[in-house]
């Protein structure tokens, strides 16, 4: 085998071992940002292709935040106009309201614990997905991707203080939406009404 081929194989192995374990994280962020599974899948693929192109010159930061920063850029570019509209709306960061809260049609929760749990997860995901862009991004990077304030600040390109205020606002909006959901369907497992 030529040196060139050896090098390529070694690079492919490193990339697979270092980058592919974060597919789920990358997909989750794209899925929340784009609110569409197919677009998210395309964004993930584009992200990984970009990452591979720059893999030779990659010397940190940590792989996960790096990939999340790339996929965020891909998502922003993909829906630049839409994102811009939403971000513009978010600039005040004071009076944003979550988008329309879905009304639950079910008469009563299923007695099956697993089904209730599934419903819980669906509800929470829906509430997070309904948040305005900048707040959705902050809460997903924190709660789903488990990044630190510093890492989020770097990825989003804002000061840590802004990350903190966005998280506070996001949680406050989630609390309101959560209580609306709870009011529409009381007793959903584990959630309860938040004060």
């Amino acid at each position: 085998m030529t040196t060139e081929a050896n090098y390529k194989q070694e690079k492919a192995r490193c990339f697979r071992d270092d980058a592919l374990p974060y597919l789920d994280d990358v997909f989750a962020l794209a899925r929340y940002l784009l609110r569409n599974a197919e677009d998210a899948e395309d964004a993930v693929q584009e992200c990984y292709l970009r990452a591979l192109r720059h893999f030779d010159s990659y010397h940190g930061p940590a792989m996960k935040p790096w990939l999340l920063a790339i996929v965020r850029n891909v998502c922003n570019a993909k829906f630049a106009r839409l994102a811009k509209q939403e971000i513009t709306t978010d600039v005040s960061e004071g009076d944003s309201r979550p988008e329309q809260i879905p009304i639950w049609q079910e008469n009563s929760p299923s007695p099956e614990a697993a089904l209730i749990r599934q419903h819980d997860n669906d509800t929470l995901r829906r509430l997070v997905a309904a948040l305005p862009y900048a707040f959705r991004e902050a809460i997903v990077l924190r709660e789903v991707n488990n990044l630190s304030y510093q890492e989020i600040a770097k990825i989003v390109g804002v000061p840590v203080g802004t990350v903190m205020s966005r998280l506070a606002r996001a949680r406050s909006m989630l609390r309101s939406a959560w209580n609306v959901a709870e009011g529409a369907m009381p007793g959903v497992a584990g959630l309860g009404r938040l004060s």
């Binding site: 492919a12 990339f15 697979r16 592919l20 597919l23 789920d24 997909f27 989750a28 899925r31 599974a37 998210a40 899948e41 993930v44 693929q45 990984y48 292709l49 591979l52 819980d120 997860n121 929470l124 995901r125 997070v128 997903v140 924190r142 709660e143 789903v144 630190s148 304030y149 840590v160 903190m164 205020s165 998280l167 506070a168 949680r171 406050s172 989630l174 609390r175 959560w178 584990g190 959630l191 309860g192 938040l194 004060s195």
Partner: protein, 79 residues
Amino acid sequence: MNCTKSEVLLHVLIDGERDAGHTSDVETHVATCSGCTENLKTFRAMRVAMAGADLKWDGAIAFAPSHRGRTAFACGVSL
């Protein structure tokens, strides 16, 4: 420290981001403010619920194998 500042800064306690600063100021304020104590309790409960929930989309689980395979293939990597 007042309630307006504390509203934002108490998330430092919830997230365990003690390096972000202001930790002891918030703790001191929360200890003497019932409203902020209540908020802290609520947001802690919310964080626990979110940590226990599966917030990654079903899609990630449902089509992860094919998705994984396609992305790997596009990058010229075998799984």
